[in-house]
Structure formats: C-alpha cells, structure tokens
Amino acid sequence: MALDEGEGRGGPPPRTRNRLGHRRLGGFRYEGIVALAGLAFVWQIASLFVPHFLFPSVPEIGQRLFEIFTSWKSISDALATSARILAGLTGAFVLGTLLAMPMARSPAFERYAYPLLNFNQGIPALSWVVVAIIWFRGIEFRIFFIMVMTTLPAFTFQVLDAYRGMSKDLFEMTLAFRPSRFGLFRTLVWPTVLPGILTAWKVNLGNASRVVVVAELVGATGGVGYELLQQQQIFDMAGAVAWTLVLVIFVLVVQGFISLIERHALRYRAFAEHAL
C-alpha cells in the first residue's frame, strides 16, 4: 500500500534544547550552573562585609563540605537521613497507592477517605513529631511514621488523579482484547499512571527532605537534622550551610535519577518546538 502524499514521520526531536528550551552543554544545563555560581558569588561578596558568624566565606563552607564527605561518621549521618527519606517516601507511596485504588473504584469509599486525607493535610509536620514522640518509643519508627503521615495525602491524590486520567477509549480498546487483570495492568494501567507517579515522587522528595530534618531535630542521635542542631548549638554557620548543602545534594541526585527514569519511560511524548 502506497502512503499518501504528506504522510510521514514527525521526525526526531531536536537535541540542542530540552522541553523548557534550555540550552545544553555536553548534557548539562549551563544556565543552572551559572545561576548557582551567581548565588555563591553574591554570598562571597556579602561575607566580606558582614560578620563572619553570619556569612562565612564560600571557601570555608566548601572546606566544611569537604570534611563531611571525607569523614565516615558524617557520611553515615548523611546516608541515614537519605535512607529515612527514601523509606518514608516508599511507605507513603505504597500506602497511598493502596488507598487510591479503592478510592478510584468505589465512590462510596472515596466519600469517606477524601475528607480524612484533607483533614490530614491540615496537620502540621511538627504536630506529627509531637504525636510520634508520645506514641512510639523507637526513633527510626517515629521518623518513618512522621514521613509517612506528612507525605501520604499527596501520594494518594496524585496516584488517584493519574488513575482517573486513564483514557476511556484506550480502556475499552484494551478490554476488547479480553486481557487478564495483570495484562490490563501491565499494558494500560501502569503506563497511564507512571507519569503521575514520577511527578508525585519528585514533588514529595522536596517535602520529605524538609520534614525529615524536623523529625531528626527532635529525636534522632544522627542524621542531617541532628548535625544541624549541633551546628546551631555551637553557632557554626559554615557547618549549618554545609549540612544543608548535603541534603540539597541528596535531593538533586535523587531528582536527577527520577528524571533519568522519566526521560526513558516517557520518551514517547511529543513536544512542541515552541515554548507555551
């Protein structure tokens, strides 16, 4: 069969710009590096005119950061916080998905569950910290509980939205092939909800990194939050900034990893060459 005139490929996407129109240099977005370098420059200038204990110099912060990454104890503290974030997010994701599925299938269940999740969203992270300290003895379980309770609603709502966004047309088309439950999940449900799940992880990662510090501040004997508390007690601004940077680096690394998955899993998506 000959193709009609005008039919053809859309062509590969241009590689020099990403979706947001950022230029890439050897795979890096140099605008981001320039912005961060600018921030460091402004900080360094400020450190020349402001007392040292308020604005330590950039080299001093760099030195503290180097010390953190060359000390096994500090590394284990950073890893402990990272593990707590990932464990909490995994727990919230599993629980959120288990909640979202019956909510999607049963309007009656949703009518009960939705107000509870909304109620939960109104509870500040610090309240969960107090509750966890009163209710539980183990430090790790306390932190896990706090992480799960603070990130659960977002995961549930995002998984629910992703599931609801499933195309009725595609659902009927797939159903016409009489798939097994697993077949339907693998070929339709999972690819449909995956973008929403990846977004949920990216959004909740930022939230979780803030919450974990609060949780560690009040109960832990190790981790970034604990170290920040130590820096506050000895009034060491360079140390506080360095430990904050450790957490930021962790978030950026995990977000980069999620972006890699996203780039691979969502490579089918078309995008316009013009920005919106």
């Binding site: 069969m1 000959a2 193709l3 009609d4 005008g6 039919e7 053809g8 490929r9 859309g10 062509g11 047309d169 595609l170 009927e172 088309m173 797939t174 159903l175 016409a176 092939f177 009489r178 798939p179 097994s180 077949g183 070929t187 339709l188 690819p191 969502l266 089918y268 998506r269 078309a270």
Partner: protein, 251 residues
C-alpha cells in the same frame, strides 16, 4: 442442517441511566437479527441511532438491558475471556497507545493472547508491511499521520486473525482521499481473511461499497430496512437500493 448463526440478537433492548437522574435513555429497542459466519454486513443509520451501542453489545463491552446477545454460541459480556483473540475491532478513532511504537501497538492483542515476543513481533511487522508501513515499525503514534495511525489500528485488529471483525466508522475521521484509498484495501483484506465482518457507517456509499448485506437502523436502534447486495447487481438495482435507504433515513 442449518448452521447456528455467528451473531444472534434476540429482542435486545439497551437503556442508559442518565447521570442527572432523569428519564433513562433508550438506545436500542427490541432489536433482533442473525448474522451468519463469513457474512459482511454494513449497518447504516443516522448519528445517535444506536449503531455504536449495537457494536458495543456485540463486542461484549455492554450488557443488554433486555434480551439476549449470542456470539459463536456464547455471551460476549458474561463470557468475556472466552472471546480472547476471537474478535478484532477497528474503532472510529485509532485508539493507539501513545507509549507504544507502531509495531508494539499492532502486537498488543497478540501479547495479551500470550504469543511469544519473537513470533508476535514478526506477525505485527508483516501486517505493518502489508498496510504500507514498513520502516515505521518503531515510530511512536505522535510521529505518524492520521491515515497511518488508522492503518496501524487496522493492522492491530487483523493481526490476531479474529473470527469476527467489528468496524465502527473507521474512515470517518480521515480526509476523503485517504479514506477512499484505505477503504478499497480494507475490503480486499476482509475478503482475504474470510472473517465475519460488521461495518458500521453513516455513509450510504461506504455501506454499498463494503457490505454484502445492509441493515438500516432507525432510532432507537431497530432495523427499518435490510437487503442483500449481489455481486452481479446492475447499477439501476443499486440505485434503487440507494433511493430506498435515503427514503428510510430521511423518514
């Protein structure tokens, strides 16, 4: 001895409840017909006459409110899994999965029917080639034109060698030129496969071009007129059928 019909509708009615709680909408009323194995039937009717509901009842995507739908001796809704691999569907719009390449879209039914990967990709590639899409196997739907996407969806329906092929206005979303070209080849494919085929359309010319038997529906879906088209029919006989269909549709 007469063979049992491939598709049987016995006094079927289908009503839909309205979301706002208003009076139920009756899409199909007391519809009865039988289609034999290998028949090529075109169902014709105005928009909203219940053609697509009838289509969905045969496909087992809907359950009749009253009456009985029997396909190959089984209930297509209640015995859904029995029909795995037996019914192929071409929808009005292509309904391709955007995350699957052309070849993976064609192989979808085979995959759900648990055909080994190597074999199913071979079958899918041969169907894509047959429909003029060689070289586009690994393109995602967004990189294909409307006509090409509809070809992929036709290949997907044919790839599983279904006993029954259901087509719901598959060319209505295409421009006239592409639709005509695809229609010709589609008819040839239908003849080659020998599947029982039901073709839903609102175009008289399309129904005359594709069907061996025509059923004209009035609202709510009931047969207002039906006729068999012989291959040796003269143009004046066809014109007579055309006129009768127009009369029924305008009435």
């Amino acid at each position: 001895m007469n063979e049992a019909p491939e598709i049987l509708f016995e006094r079927v009615s289908k009503t839909f409840a309205r979301a706002d709680g208003g009076t139920a909408f009756e899409a199909v009323r007391d519809l009865s017909f039988a289609i034999d194995r290998g028949e090529l039937v075109a169902i014709l009717g105005k928009t909203g006459c219940g053609k697509s509901t009838t289509f969905n009842l045969i496909a087992g995507l809907l359950r009749p409110t009253v009456g009985r739908v029997v396909v190959q001796g089984h209930d297509p809704y209640a015995e859904s899994s029995w029909f795995r691999g037996k019914i192929g569907i071409v929808f009005q719009n292509d309904r391709l999965m955007p995350w699957r390449t052309a070849i993976d879209n064609v192989a979808l039914g085979l995959e759900l029917n648990k055909m080994p990967p190597g074999q199913r990709l071979g079958v899918a590639a041969s169907w894509l080639a047959r429909l003029g899409l060689s070289g586009h196997e690994h393109d995602y739907p967004h990189a294909l034109s409307g006509g090409m996407r509809q070809r992929v969806s036709i290949a997907r329906a044919f790839a599983g060698k279904p006993d029954i092929l259901l087509c719901d206005e598959p060319f209505s979303a295409l421009d006239e030129h592409t639709g005509n070209a695809l229609r010709e080849e589609f008819r040839e494919l239908l003849r080659q496969t020998g599947a029982t085929s039901i073709f839903i359309t609102h175009s008289i010319e399309e129904a005359l071009a594709l069907g061996e038997r025509l059923m004209v529906f009035e609202r709510p879906a009931r047969i207002a007129y039906q006729t068999t088209l012989r291959a040796d029919m003269s143009e004046s006989e066809r014109e007579g059928v055309r006129g009768r269909i127009r009369q029924v549709l305008s009435g």
